[in-house]
C-alpha cells in the first residue's frame, strides 16, 4: 500500500525532473577549457587565453578564427619547415602579424589578405640556423590596440532562422564609418548545428569588421556544441584600447560555477578601467512576468553583485527579441535581440543593432539604437 503511493509520486517527480540537471553547463565548460590548444606528433599549438578557435592544421599550416582584436599564438615544432603558414580569419582589417622565435629572434612575416581584409595569411619564415626544433610566437594586433583613443563598437544578437535576411543588417553596419568590431551576444542559429553555424559565417563574411560572439540557448539544440569548434570559447575576456570586454556563456540561464573564479580575475583586471560585460540570457528580465532570464533569481542577484563590485560599466544581453534600456544593480544595461528571430510584438521596434561609443578614459559615452526595418 505504502509502496504504491510512493511509486506514483516518485514516477511523477522523477519523470519530470529527469530533464532538470543542475549541472547542465559542466560538460561544455570542461570542453571549452581545451579550446585554443592542440598537439600532435611534431607540433603543439596554444593560443593565449583561448582567444581563437583552431579550425584545422598540418605540420606547416594552421587555420584559426580569432576571437579577439589581438591574439597570441605559441607554436612548438619538432621539425620546423621553411615557412609556417598562419591562416587567421576575423582579424581587424589593419591588423599586423609579428613573430619571434623562442630565442628572441625576430622572424620575417609576409602577410596578405585572403579574399576580404579580415581574413589574413601570415607566412612566417623560419631560418634553418634555428635548428629543427623551433618555438615561435605570433602576435596579431592592430597598431591602435594598446592606445586609449575613443572608439565605437556594435552589438547584435538573435539572428536564428532569419540568417537569410541578415545581410540587410550587415549592409547597414557597413555604412558606419567608425565601427571597429561587433559583439554578438548569442543565438547565431536556430539549432546550433555545424551547417547552420557555417551558413551564419558565410553571411558574416559580408561584414567588413570582425565579429566576436558568445553562444545563446539556441546553440545548444544540437548533438554537441558546434559553436566551440567553429567560434571558440563562450567565456572569455580581452582588452582593446584599454577597454576590457568580457563575454560569458549564460546560454543555459546560468553561469557555470567554475567560471566564477575566472570572472573574478577578469573583474579584478578591469576594475580600474572601462569594462563591458556581455552574455546571452540576462540575469533579470525587465519583464518579470516573462522572466526570459536566469533560472534562479538568487544566482542572478549574486552575479550582479559581483559585476557591481567589480565596477563594470556596461552590461549587454540578447535572448529577448526586442530592445530594452534599463539598469541592473545600477549598471547600465541593454537587451538588443534585433537580429531577425521571431520578434516581440507590440514593442515598436523591428530588426536593429546598437552601437556604443567608448572613451577608455571617461567611460561609455553614447549608446545608439540603429533601426534596420
Amino acid at each position: 500500500m505504502i509502496a504504491w503511493r510512493k511509486g506514483i509520486g516518485a514516477v511523477a517527480v522523477v519523470a519530470t525532473t529527469s530533464m532538470a540537471c543542475t549541472g547542465v553547463t559542466r560538460e561544455r565548460t570542461e570542453e571549452e577549457a581545451a579550446i585554443g590548444s592542440t598537439s600532435a606528433p611534431g607540433i603543439a599549438i596554444r593560443v593565449a587565453d583561448g582567444l581563437a578557435a583552431l579550425r584545422d592544421g598540418t605540420l606547416d599550416r594552421i587555420h584559426l578564427r580569432a576571437g579577439a582584436p589581438a591574439i597570441d599564438v605559441h607554436v612548438e615544432l619538432a621539425n620546423a619547415p621553411e615557412t609556417f603558414h598562419f591562416e587567421i580569419d576575423n582579424v581587424l582589417p589593419d591588423a599586423r602579424c609579428t613573430a619571434i622565435a623562442g630565442d628572441g629572434t625576430s622572424l620575417f612575416v609576409k602577410a596578405e589578405a585572403r579574399g576580404r581584409s579580415l581574413d589574413k595569411t601570415c607566412d612566417v619564415s623560419i631560418p634553418r640556423e634555428l635548428g629543427p626544433a623551433v618555438t615561435l610566437d605570433l602576435h596579431v594586433a592592430s597598431d591602435d590596440d594598446g592606445s586609449a583613443e575613443p572608439f565605437t563598437f556594435g552589438l547584435l544578437a538573435d539572428v536564428q532562422e532569419a540568417v537569410g535576411e541578415v545581410d540587410a543588417i550587415y549592409a547597414r553596419m557597413g555604412e558606419e564609418a567608425d565601427l571597429r568590431f561587433v559583439l554578438f551576444s548569442g543565438d547565431l542559429t536556430r539549432g546550433g548545428s555545424r551547417e547552420e553555424l557555417l551558413e551564419f559565417e558565410r553571411h558574416e563574411k559580408r561584414l567588413d569588421v570582425p565579429l566576436y560572439a558568445t553562444l545563446g540557448n539556441h546553440e545548444l539544440g544540437s548533438d554537441r556544441v558546434h559553436f566551440h569548434d567553429l567560434y571558440g570559447r563562450g567565456n572569455y575576456s580581452f582588452v582593446y584600447r584599454s577597454t576590457r570586454f568580457t563575454l560569458l556563456d549564460s546560454a543555459s540561464a546560468t553561469i557555470d560555477p567554475a567560471i566564477y573564479d575566472r570572472l573574478d580575475a577578469w573583474l579584478g583586471a578591469g576594475r580600474h578601467g572601462v569594462h563591458v560585460v556581455a552574455m546571452h540570457v540576462p540575469p533579470f528580465d525587465p519583464s518579470g512576468f516573462r522572466n526570459g532570464a536566469f533560472a534562479s533569481r538568487s544566482e542572478a542577484a549574486k552575479l550582479l553583485e559581483r559585476l557591481a563590485e567589480g565596477r563594470v560599466d556596461l552590461t549587454l544581453y540578447g535572448h529577448v527579441h526586442s530592445y530594452y534600456a534599463f539598469a541592473n544593480a545600477g549598471i547600465p544595461a541593454y537587451i538588443s535581440g534585433g537580429g531577425g528571430a521571431i520578434p516581440e510584438r507590440l514593442d515598436g521596434i523591428g530588426r536593429h543593432y546598437m552601437k556604443f561609443h567608448v572613451d577608455p578614459i571617461r567611460g561609455v559615452r553614447d549608446a545608439t539604437v540603429v533601426r534596420v526595418d
Binding site: V13, T17, P257, G288, K302
Partner: protein, 362 residues
C-alpha cells in the same frame, strides 16, 4: 460559429465541475480487472485521459476527465499560440503564460487522478480534513544541493495560526553552514473551504486570497531580497468530478507581486522585478478523520525567487520552467506528524519536518 463554440465550451466546463451526485456506486468496479484497468490508465490513458475510469465501468467520470483534458489542452494551445504570436510580448505574456500553466496543470491532474483512482488499492485514498486546527507547528531541516550556493543545510521552523477564515503562516529557514536566512510571512483569507472552528466544510475544496512576503538575506552573496506577492489559491476535490475519484484533488494558484533586490557594492542600486506566481498541483488524501491522516501532492511552481529557483533544462528551453516538488504531510497521532518534501529547480532540495498541533481535529 463562434457562439456554438462558446456554448459547447460552457457545457463542457459545467459537465466537468458539476458535483457527481448521481454517479453509480464507485465501490463496485465493473469492466476490466483492476490491474488491467490500471495499465490502461497509465499507458493509453496518458493520451486519452479517463480510460482507466472507462475500463472500470465508470464511464460518466471517464467522460468528464476526457472533457477536462480537452479543456486543458485547449488552454495550453491557446496560451502557447498567444505566446508565439506575440513573441512573448511584455504586454500580454502574463495571461498567455497563465493559460499555458493552468492548461498543463489540468492536463496532468486529469491523468494523475485517473491513475491514482485506478492503481491504488481500494481504501488507500482518504478524505480531506473538513475543519482545521487553531495552530499547527512545524520544525525540521532542509538539505540543498545548489552548485552556485555557499550553503547546503537549513534549519526550518514555522507555524500556521488560524482564526475562522483567517490564517497567518510565518516561517524561518536559516542556513547552518553559512550566513543565509529566509524569512517568510504569509497571510490568507479563506472564502470557502475548511476553516478553524466547529463548522465542517463539505470537503477539502477551498479558495484563498494569499499575501506572501519573503525576505532573504544572502550575506555571503552580499545581497538582500524582499518579495511581496498577492495570489488567489484554490483546491478542487475531484470527488466532485466523479465519486470514484474521491481522495484526489487538484490545485492552482495565480498571483502577482514585486521583488526588490539590494546589493552591498558601493554605488549599486536596488532592482525591482515583477513576480509572477503560478502554481499547479495534484494530490491525494491519506486516512480519514482519525490518525493517521494527511496528504501528498506534487506541485509545479513557476516562481524563480524560491529556494530552488527554476529548472536548468539542457538545450534550447533554458530558463523557461519553474520547479517541481513533492510534499507529503502525515499525522501519525492526532497531534504529532511528519512532513517530507523534495523539490528540483536550479537546485535539489530535500526536507524533513516534525508536525505538531496542540489539539486534535474537532
Amino acid at each position: 460559429m463562434n457562439r456554438r463554440w462558446v456554448v459547447a465550451t460552457v457545457l463542457a466546463v459545467v459537465s466537468v465541475v458539476r458535483p457527481a451526485a448521481a454517479d453509480p456506486d464507485p465501490r463496485r468496479d465493473r469492466g476490466f480487472p483492476r490491474p488491467v484497468a490500471a495499465a490502461i490508465a497509465v499507458v493509453p490513458g496518458a493520451v486519452v485521459h479517463g480510460l482507466g475510469r472507462y475500463a472500470t465501468g465508470d464511464t460518466r467520470t471517464g467522460h468528464r476527465l476526457l472533457l477536462a483534458e480537452g479543456l486543458g489542452v485547449s488552454a495550453f494551445a491557446l496560451g502557447g499560440a498567444g505566446l508565439l504570436g506575440t513573441g512573448a510580448s511584455r504586454h500580454t505574456v502574463a495571461p498567455f503564460a497563465a493559460l499555458v500553466g493552468l492548461g498543463l496543470g489540468t492536463f496532468f491532474a486529469t491523468y494523475l487522478a485517473d491513475v491514482a483512482a485506478t492503481s491504488l488499492p481500494e481504501g488507500t485514498l482518504g478524505r480531506a480534513q473538513r475543519t482545521l486546527p487553531l495552530l499547527e507547528v512545524h520544525a525540521g531541516v532542509r538539505v540543498l544541493h545548489d552548485p552556485t550556493a555557499s550553503y547546503g543545510v537549513l534549519a526550518v521552523q514555522g507555524f500556521d495560526l488560524r482564526s475562522g477564515r483567517f490564517r497567518v503562516s510565518p516561517e524561518a529557514s536559516v542556513a547552518l553552514d553559512d550566513a543565509h536566512g529566509r524569512y517568510d510571512v504569509g497571510a490568507a483569507w479563506r472564502f470557502l473551504g475548511p476553516t478553524e472552528g466547529r463548522r465542517r466544510s463539505q470537503d477539502g475544496t477551498f479558495l484563498d486570497a494569499e499575501l506572501d512576503v519573503l525576505h532573504v538575506r544572502a550575506i555571503s552573496d552580499r545581497t538582500v531580497s524582499t518579495s511581496g506577492v498577492l495570489s488567489l489559491h484554490g483546491r478542487y476535490d475531484l470527488a466532485r468530478v466523479g465519486r470514484s475519484l474521491a481522495g484526489t484533488f487538484a490545485e492552482g494558484a495565480l498571483g502577482w507581486g514585486l521583488q526588490r533586490v539590494g546589493y552591498a557594492a558601493p554605488a549599486a542600486e536596488p532592482d525591482a522585478i515583477d513576480v509572477f506566481d503560478m502554481r499547479v498541483a495534484f494530490g491525494v488524501y491519506h486516512g480519514r478523520r482519525r490518525a493517521p491522516f494527511g496528504e501528498t501532492k506534487v506541485t509545479y511552481d513557476h516562481r524563480r525567487d524560491t529556494l530552488v529557483g527554476g529548472m536548468k533544462v539542457p538545450g534550447r528551453a533554458a530558463g523557461i520552467l519553474g520547479s517541481v516538488g513533492l510534499t507529503s504531510r502525515v499525522y501519525v497521532t492526532p497531534r504529532l506528524g511528519v512532513a517530507a518534501e523534495v523539490a528540483v529547480g536550479s537546485a535539489w532540495m530535500g526536507g524533513l519536518s516534525i508536525l505538531w498541533r496542540p489539539e486534535a481535529a474537532p
